[in-house]
Every structure is written in C-alpha cells, then in structure tokens.
Amino acid sequence: MASNKKYWKSVEELNENSSIVDTLKHNEFVEEIPTNEFLGDKENLESSSTTRRDFLKYVGFTTAAASLAACEGPVVKSIPYVIKPDDIIPGVADYYATTIADGFDFANVLVKVREGRPIKIEPNKDANGSTNARVQASVLSLYDSNRLKAPKAKGAEISWSDADSQIVSKLNEVKAAGLPIAVLTGTCASPSTKKLVGKLNETFENVNHVIYDAISESPALDAFEAMYGERALPDYNLDKADVVVSIGADFLGDWQGGGFSAGYAKGRIPSEGKMSHHVQFESNMSLSGANADKRILVKPSEQNLALIKLFNAVVKGISTREASPLNDAILKAANQIKKAGSKAIVLTGIQDKNAQLLALAINKFINSEVIDVVKTKNIRKGNDAAVAQLIADMNAGKVGAVIINNSNPVYTLPNSADFVEGLKKVKLSIACSTQDNETVNAVEYGLATPHYLESWGDVMIKKGEFSLMQPTINPLFNTRQFQDSLLKWTGSSISYYDFLKESSAEILEGKSWNQVLHDGVFNSTVIPSEEIEVSEIEVDIDAAGSELAKIKGSDFELALYTKVAMGDGQMANNPWLQELPDPITRTTWDNYLTMSKADADALGVVNYNVANGALNGSLVEISVDGVSETLPVYVQPGQAKGSLGLALGYGRSNGLKEEMQTGKNAYQFYKDYNNFQSNVSVKVVAGEHEFACIQLHNTLMGRGDIVKETTLETYNDHSLNPRKTWNKVPVVSLDHNEVEASTVDLWDEFDRSVGHHFNLSIDLNSCTGCGACVIACNAENNVPVVGKDEMRKSRDMHWLRIDRYYSHEESFAEDVEKKEAGTGVMGYKNTMAELEDASENPSVAFQPVMCQHCNHAPCETVCPVAATSHGRQGQNHMAYNRCVGTRYCANNCPYKVRRFNWFQYPNNNEFDYNMNDDLGKMVLNPDVTVRSRGVMEKCSMCIQMTQATILKAKKEGRPVDANEFETACSNACSTGAMMFGDINKKEDTITSLVNDTRAYHLLEHVGTKPNVVYQVKVKNTQEA
C-alpha cells in the first residue's frame, strides 16, 4: 500500500505555487559546482597530452604493478664479521658479571649480551646480587639517544686532546694561584678512584674531594661515625629479625641505598609457625608500610616524638602515662622489641643525626643481631656539611676549580641557583657525565663519560666485598672514563684498565684477576672479626633526645620520597621507568602531591574518573619557606592527616625527550637535605590535572577469591581445615551435592604427566611490590612503551602488572565478613557502595598478575582463527602471525591479562620511545617477535627461555637440572616471591609450593585451572 504521506523540507514546499519550489526541483545542487575553475582553463586542458582515458590507464597500470611488485620479497643482506671475536657465537648469548654503581644504585649483576650488545640485566646470584626496577632498566639507558656523545667546551664540541691541554693548563693556573680544586662526585665506593683523586692531589695540591648524594643519608653517616668512629652505614640482616620496627624508614624502597628486601622477605614466609612482625610508623604510604603487619599513621614531626618515646620505653623502661593511639602503639612496639630481645631491630628514616643516634642506641641496648656494624656498607658517603661549605666557598671565590663526576647538582641541589652562581666564580668547571644533563650545560667543560656497561671499574659495596665492573660493549660514543681523564691530567700514560688491575692486585689477596672478573665479586677471606672492637665514642643520647624533641611541627608537613621507578631522577629519560606504575598509586609518567582523604575533603580537593575511566585531580599550590609550585593532588588512602607526600626525581628537562619531561622538580623543597619539611602552606588553584593511573579499583570489595589473607594465628591453628576456612576452595553443586569447583569439568582433561609441566608460584607474603619483575619482563619480551596518553586510556602493554588492593576495613578478612553480612537487596547495595572506599589506614596487598596459562583457557575456545592454543607444557601459546585482532580472547579472559596492539609501536614517530630509533632498538631481544599493530599479545611464560633451557639440556645430553627453568620475572625477583619450575619434576621447589596449604588459584570458581598459583597472604597480627 502506497503511503499518502507527504514529506517536506521547508514550509515553502507546502505552497504548491511557489516558484522557489519549482526552481529547486530542477536544480539538484543549491550551490553551483565550481567546474569552471578547473575546466575553464581550456588552453591548458587541450595542450595536455594526457586524456582522461590515459589517466585511468596509468592509474590502473601503476596500481597493478605496485601490487605485483609487492609479491616479491626484498633482498636481504647478511653481513658476517670480517674477523669474528672468539667468544662470540652469533645467536648465542654471553653473560658477563659486572657491577652497577651509579651513585644511587649499587648491585652485582650479570649482563646478557647478544652479538656484542647488552640486552638484559640479571642479578648475579652467586655474588648475592639483587636488582630493583632501575637496575633492570639501566640497560636501556645505555642506548639513550639523548646521551652526551662527545666532550663539549662551552656548549661546542671539542676534541679530547684540546680539552685536555686546556684543562691541564687551567689546573696549573689554579695551582699557581694557590686555590683549592674541588672534586665533587656522587658516592662511588671505588677504591681505585679514591687513589686517583689522591694522585690528582699529589700533582695539583690542595684537592678537596667532596662527596654529594642527591638523596642524602648524611645524618645516618654522622650518627654512625659518632657512635662507632667510622663514617659508613651499618648493614641490616633482616632475615635474622623477629621484630622490625621502622619509624619513617622505607627500607623496602631506597632507604640507605636499599637492598634489604631479600632478607626481609625471608623472615616473612611463615615456616614452623613463625614469621617476623613488622611495625611501621610513617606518614606517606610507602612500600614498607604497605607490607607491614601494623602501620601507624604519624605526621613527620611526630615521628621524632615517637622515636623518643620508643627509646624511653625500651632503653629507660619509662613511658608517659597519657593515653593516645600513638602512645599505645609505641608501648606495644616496645613490648615486642623487649620480647624479641636481640632479634629485634629499630630503623628510622628521619634525616636527623639525633634521631639516627637514638635508633642506633636502641639497637645497641637490645644487643641486636640484625645490625651489622662490622661489615659496613659504602654505598652512601655524601656529606651535607662539606657540600654546603663548598657552595659557600665557591661563591666567596675561594675555589679555583670544580671537577664534577657522576652527579647532577644543578638539578638536585635545593639551592641550585647558589651553586650555578658559584660556578661562575671558579676558574675552571668540569662535569663528567653520561647524560647531557643540567650540570653539563652549566659548566665550562662537559666531558662525556661511558655508561657503566661500557666502563671498567671497581666497587666496594660492603667492607670486604670487592666487585669489578667490566665493559660489555665497545663505547657507543666518543666518551672517556672519568678515571682515564684523571690519569691523563696527572700526566700518567697508562690506561685506567692497567691502573685498576695494578691497584686491585693488593685487594685480591693473590686471587687471579680473570677469576674475579669472571665471578664479578671477590669476598675477602680476612673476615673482620667481631672481636675487633670498633672504636666507640661515648655519645650523649639524652642530649640527642632532648635536641630532637625541640623540633616543631606545623599544620601541613611535606614528606619527600623516592619512587621505585624514578629514584633520584638520573634515569628520567628511560621510558620503561617512566611507564612503570608506582606500586602504591599505580600512576605512571608523573609525580604529584599525595594527600589524605580528610585533608582533601577539607580543602575541597577531588580525584575523579572521567568517562573513559582515566583519573583527573585538582591542582594546588604549595609553598615551603617561600618556594612555591603548583602540583596535582592524588588522594592517598593511608596518608597521615596533615602530611603531604611528593616524589623526587621528576621535573627534569635537559637531555630528555619531550615525552619524558614529566612532573615537577621536588628538589627545590629539599631544604637542608631534609626529606621532612614543615611550614607548608597549601592553596587550591583552578584547573585540573590528568593522571595516567592504570588501576581504577582501589579496594577489593570483599572479593576474597582474588586476594586471600589470613592471620598467623589462624594459619597456625591446626584444628582448622584450610580448604574449608582460611584458604576456602569455592564449591559448586553437582548432582545436588556441594563439591569443590576444581573437581568439576566441562572439558576432557589431558594427561599432563609426561614431559614438562610449568607452573609459576607467587607468594603474596614475600611480594613487596617493587616492580623489578615488570621491567625484567619488558626487557625480555620486547614490550613496547605506549606513553602517557595511551596509559590514560588503559592501553598499557605490560604483560605483567602488579595489582594493589586496599581494604575498606582494617584487613581484607574483615572486608569479606562485611560483604557477607550485607543482607537483602538494599543492604547488599549499601554494603558494596561502602566497600568501595578504602579505609583511612587500609591494609594493602600486592598481587602480580600475568597470563594465568589456564589449562582450560577461555581465550582459546573463542579465537576464530585458533591463534591462541595450549601447549602440552602448560603454556598458553599466542601465534601473532595468526592473530587477526578480533579481541574475543581479551573479552573472554577473566583475568584481563591480554594486551592489544592498538598501534604500530615500533618505527612510529607518534611513539618516540626506544623502539623508534636504531640505538634504542639495540635493546630488543632477538629471540622474541616484535609485535605489529592489530594483534593480541600476552605473557608467554617466557617460552623462549624454557625452550632454551630444554635445548641446552638436550645438547648436553642430560636431564634438566632441578630449578633450572626460569622466567624473566622469577629471575628478577629478589625476594623469591616468584618461583618457576616444572611440577613433573619432584626436585623442583615449585612441586612443593603448588601443594602447599597456602596455595590457591585466582578465581578458582571459574574453573580455568591456571598454571599460576598464589600463596595466601599471612599477617602476623599477634601483639605482645
């Protein structure tokens, strides 16, 4: 039936006699098409020999030719060495033992080298080496295209010989003028460098070696010196500790150079019913606080008070009677310490000599076994007073020359302007640096030095532990080591290598140089015995205490800290580190002010998620003693009221790609090198900041089948059946009977008993959340960097993420209880809404999640092209060349671990990170495909590593050794939280771990039967 409806465009059309309607009817185009413009030029058109038909022919032909030519493969050249080095077999990795000592991180490492290029850093486990995220990422800094590539004089390139002759003549001038020469270096812990500075002193006289740490530990050094007569840091063997009390010390982070997590984690695994008890007093939520059994919120200024009270309670046995939560907590901590006796330890991060003295005094009083005052550490040697003196002298014109090495004072000094002013008054200023940083651009001579992977060197990380540094690649640029420069300037003709060999001969006690170079470390056989009494000086502790008590607080106090990713900021141009989510805030590419919820509410500061899930936050302006800066606010659960946190190491701009110039410089607030600053005023300003925060959910909402947590008490109660109580296995109904979910199967089970079957165990108790595994995974698997904008859209490519969960109640167990208590529709709804908010001082859990390699993988069944399939060895395979990018698999994955390549990340100027230039690409692992746009990717359980291990065994004609299988993450994990192995091999540690009472699978009720197993988190909540 035809419709009689009349459609009209304008009222005019309804008027049947309108002339306009008539005109419009015959004129399809309201506006005239400007054909005349291109057809009007008749002359030109006619003179052209190309007709329209010809044109079409050409187009057709060229298109056809181009597509035909595309079928032909390109000619690939293969260029062998002209003279092949003996130790290189193309395709086989060599490992070299060396040591990183960049002034902030010190570690014995193994460097994986393929065809002469270092591609990965691994801990040298034979030398007790452990790596953090920065050490793992340092290999990429070697290939930093913004490095200082050649010596410069006043910004212009200069040859080494010219630079040398000019510098030597100037040094002689300075010598003649009788002015001192200052050598300003970061902590180098190198005996040979010390000797060379001494040599410089012999030649030019009046050389003053000032050691400067960007993040100062000077008060701790001063306190130790006052007490034990040696300017060094004591070592802490936290594996021996039964009770750890920390007041503001983030010892799982970078406190006193870090490196304590391995020992700490050993004591945290409940064995024979025992584990250590950890109490943390702090203002910022730090890694240490997140891992503590008890965390007490204390404002920075009150931490001094807490320490004094703890000292009084433990040492003097007196305590004030006033009842306050803090007092209560201190008393409990003091009781714990007393009970544990010599197995307790008190650590403090308060940058005050008196505070450090108090802590040392407590440890001495309880005769702590944990603190080692004999084999001291050399990894922080900075002297604040000396640095301050130097700057004063420079400005007074009392310094002739300044030679800076491995330090960036122009960026890191709080009074940087004074320093720059002072530099202008010295006759000669030199900065030796790997990076083209702020200092290099402020001095006269910027001398390019090689990266540690291109250098020789020696490091005495700890007394009696002598490590060597060896080059793993020929210098990429026109660089020269600082030590070689010193040798040259002092008129010596030998190279630093020869000098080093000679000078270390006396340390090596007759052991061969080659052997030590191979091992990476030499442990002195002359053990400093406990008998040798370190010179003890009487210290007036009471005076120290009363001095400390005088420090006044203010309404708002600022606590500066370092992030596990950025550290002191020297690796700011490293995209891996920029993109590593902070373990606590899960935010990347940024620093920000952390603020408690209460303060934020009071100020009207908000954090909220925008439509695409990304986080936005308000801006505030803070000012500390006249220095002010506008900063975004991140509302941080567990932040002490009245305190603010701000990460150092951001806000650099010199020698950085534009994308890496993130955050604000916090060093400007680092007055007197004190990480606690009072007199802070906060003012809300207009505008908002866009964070690249990659975790939307902060709390667990009582979902006990994701993170399981229990107390040591419950764990030790053998009357309980763990599978029914604290490690409850989900049940389902089968034939009207309740059975364990894992016993019900939709699919046929394969026989996996033959050959290898890989499993990965993750212990939530010993995972500190440090992020080293994430970077190791990036390096091993060529994971691309996507940048801040993409991170904001949750398009991160990390194959391994570390989820961080807060609790709404005091603990996760209480969360679950609360959730289950919510009855009725409204009751449940209200409970869930409530559970979304983290509590003021929440319990924290870290959970590394990667592909779970399900035996019954939901992703495999939905792939239309069978690009993801299951291997008999337990690995879920991903064939990139087969994937067409439907993303069904990611939708069907209950763990959300699959990553989609939205873009072509390599060779793309939109993603100008390491995969966009030839230099940065040198870090790529040639055994792993670089993925293209439009394919899914995910954790492969490092199949290239397991296959290589199998092949090695086959070639040697032997079975695979116990615990020989490793993945990049398990290898990088210094705490042993990640253990990888073959469950068909009884000798592997993993075999016992998968059958442990603590073992559980993520979302077990889904029935995916993963090959990744987690261990229930146990908290030691017993209070003495």
Binding site: I79, Y81, V82, I83, T929, L951, K954
Partner: protein, 520 residues
Amino acid sequence: MKSVKHHSTLSRLALFSLAFLLFFSVNLSAQEANAANGEKLYKSVCAACHKLDKKLIGPALKGITEKRDQEWLIKWIKDSPGLIKSGDKLAIQVFEENNKLPMTANPQLSDQDILDILEYTKGEPVVKEVAATQEVDPGVELGKKIYKANCAACHKLEGNLIGPPLLKIGDKYETEWLKAWIKDNNALVASGDKLAKEVQDSNPAAMTPFLHLSDEDIDNVLKYLAVGDVKAQPAVATGADTKIFENPKFGVWPTLGLTILAFLLLAMIVAATTNRVVVEGEESTPSMLKTILFNPFLRFLSVIFFLLLGAWLLFGWLMQIDVNEGYQPIQPIAFSHAVHAGDNKIDCQYCHSSAKNSKTSGIPSANVCMNCHKSITEYNGELFGDYSKEDLDGEIQKIYDAVGWDKDKLEYIEGAEEKPIEWVRIHNLADFAYYNHSQHVTVAGLDCQKCHGPVEEMHDMYQFSPLTMDWCITCHRETEVDMTENGYYKNIHDQLAKKYGVEKVTAAQMGGLECGKCHY
C-alpha cells in the same frame, strides 16, 4: 541401430582415456632397471674411492668398459689382490699406476651386479679429458703426490709462500745439492756449504729436514717440479648434473589434468546416458559440447565446477607467494660450494661453525676463509660457470681486500680498513618463526643436505627447500625422535612409550606441532 553410435562415443572415450593412461605410464617407466641398480650399487660400494669423471683415491671410472675387457673387470672388481698375486700383467700395471694403493675386494657382488655397475658407468655422458690421454711419466704423478704431502704447506709452484717458488727449481740448482738440501738443510749448512748458507740467509723461515724421503722420491718430486701441473682442459659442461636430490616439481598441472579428465569423463557418461533418452528417434548425433550446453544439469555442474576450479587455482597461486624455493641470488663473491664442500670435501660445519651451537648456522667470517686461503691464492681446479681462471683468482682476491691481506708479502696490511662482505641472504625465514640450527644439527643429528639439498654440487647456492610451514610440519610428523642416545630423553622416553604404546615417537608427538614452539 542408432544406439551403436552412442556406443562409439563411449568406446572413443575409453580409447582416449587408455591413451592418456598410457602416456603417463610411459613417462614413468623411462629409466631402465639395469643402470638404476648399478647406480645404487656404485654409490654404496665404489663411490668412496672412485668418481665417474675424475680421480679420487682410485681412477675415474667413466668409460672404463671401453678401456678394459669386461671379463677382466669382473675378476678385478671381485678380487683385485688375488688377480695381482696371480701375476696378471694388466693387474700389476694398474696397481702400479695407482700408487700401489690396493683396491678392496668385493666378493659379495654377483656378476650381474658388476655388469649393472659397469652399465651405470657407461650411461653417464663421457667427458674426455685431454690430459688423460697424454703420455705422462708416472714419476711426475708420484712426485706430485709427495710434493703435495710434504712441500705444499710452505711452497708454491709459482709465487712466494713461506718458502720460495719451486717450479723448475732443478734448472737453478744441481740435483745432488738439492737432494742434500731437502734431506737435511741444517746439516748441509753446518758442513760449510756456501750455497746452502746463502739460501738459508735469503729466507728467514727455517726449512724442515725431510730425512724420510728417498733419493727416488726426491727425483720424482723434481720431475714433477720440472713439468708443473699439466693444465686440464676446461671440462665440457656435461649438462647431465645428477638430479637425485631434486624435489619432484609437478606443480598443480598433473592434478589439474586429472581433474579435468575426471570431469570430462563424468560429463560424457552423463551425456551418454541422458542423450539416449533425448536423442532417440532423431537422425543427427549431437556433439558433446552441445549436449553440455543444452543440458541444464550439466550447465549447472560446469558452473559449479569452474567456480571451484577457479577458486582452487587462485588459492594455489596465492599460496606460493613469497615461497622462494630455488631462489638463487648473485653473490658478491663467486663462492662455489661445489668446489669447497664437493671437490675439497670441507665439512659444512668447518665454515658454518655455529650451526651446532646456535640458532643461526652462521656465515663464516672472512678470517675463517683465510685459514685456507692464506696459502691457496689461486684456483687450480676445474673451471665452472663462465668463469676463467683469472676471474676465480680475482674472487679469492676479494677476501684479501676484505681482511686487508697482502698476498705477495703474506702479511696483513697494517691499518687496512676491514671491508665486510655483504652476502645476499638466501634462506629468509620470517621473523615470527623461530628456527634453531643446533636443535636440528646437534640434537637431531640431521645432515645439512636434508634441508639445504645437494650443496656439495651447487656452484651457486640456491634455496632448495620451500621453507613453508607445511614443509616444516610434514617433516616433524614423519621424523622419529631418537631417544636412545640422548640423556635428556631417558625419562620422557619411558613415559611416552608407555603413553602412546609405541616404541618410536615422532617429533610431532613430542610437541613439535605446537604453535608456541616456533612462534614466540
């Protein structure tokens, strides 16, 4: 009766198909059994010491039947030592001619076997070497042998090596003096011989004494040195390079032919049966094409058929894109695998040394070439391709240019720039496929030829295998894993044998078909 005519269509069809079948079978049976068996026997029994066209340990065998009596040959092959002992003159002569190297007796061969072998030696096209027919003093040959064994390490005929050139050395010095010098030059110098002192001083490198050489030996060497190498005429390109390794390359055509044939057969049968009904009673016999055109069912059938055929052909064509079987690019140096691996029997892994350790077999670096080419400065073998001797010497010079070697002074030129040789890569496996040579060479113990073909016969290297995934997994399916030798498999072997109930396990059963084993 009219139906007879239909019959004739059918019989024509039968004849046609018969002819077709015949054509194929004739093609297949083109080789005679005799020579084929001979070839097999030859390969297993004789090839270790003999080649058809040139001397190896024993003499060349091509055309041997023309030279020697058949009866004698049978006797000789069966028991040559016995024949020599019996005093047969010819036998003794042959024995003498071949440096008194006794030939293995082969009593296991029947007369027929031997005849087969002889047939095979006949069958190959004969290349007559001019040099072979020339009269040459047997002493020269002997001398050459001794020269190669004792002198060639330090001396060349022409040009300096470690010692001076030796061609026509007899013209320069007296024979007796030479004998004394060669036997113990130190003693000669010590005895106060002026000439000896002079010669010793002229060259810094001391010469080894050769006390074990008899006067006769030295005479022979000098005979050889007087003549030098009698240059063999360039071999006539035989054009009959053995094809035993070649993959059968039928492509899609035989299958296509068969399919069309099948279709035609079907069409005719349908036509024949349907026609009988349709055409009955009519005078004319419709042609087959007409039948197909006017029969709606057949029309439908043909449309479907041609659509499927088209799709299949297109698919086949698309599948061969970037399959570079036979890819033979021109290399920067006319390096011949046939000369190195074939004639000179250099082990593959001498140059491709990383094949046993690494995923890549490794293109040898120029310093590996120099291990031999420090002393081999010119090419004296049979010429190949269009290259003249000068061309090939020039190719060797390219190595010297790359490493900076002065072939006259015999030393590396100081400060010379290293110029890497830019080979054109032949085997380009896609980046997303992981292949490891050591797995196949060291663990599986495969011969290189299994994938790379008869490299020892290739003057110009080419890609022998398609390197497609199909090719990979076919091999994995067929190849049994030898689990008895390798300690790694011990445990797995017992378990797997139990699981599959078979003693032998293929690479596929070991997980060799899993995606992630090659794609990561």
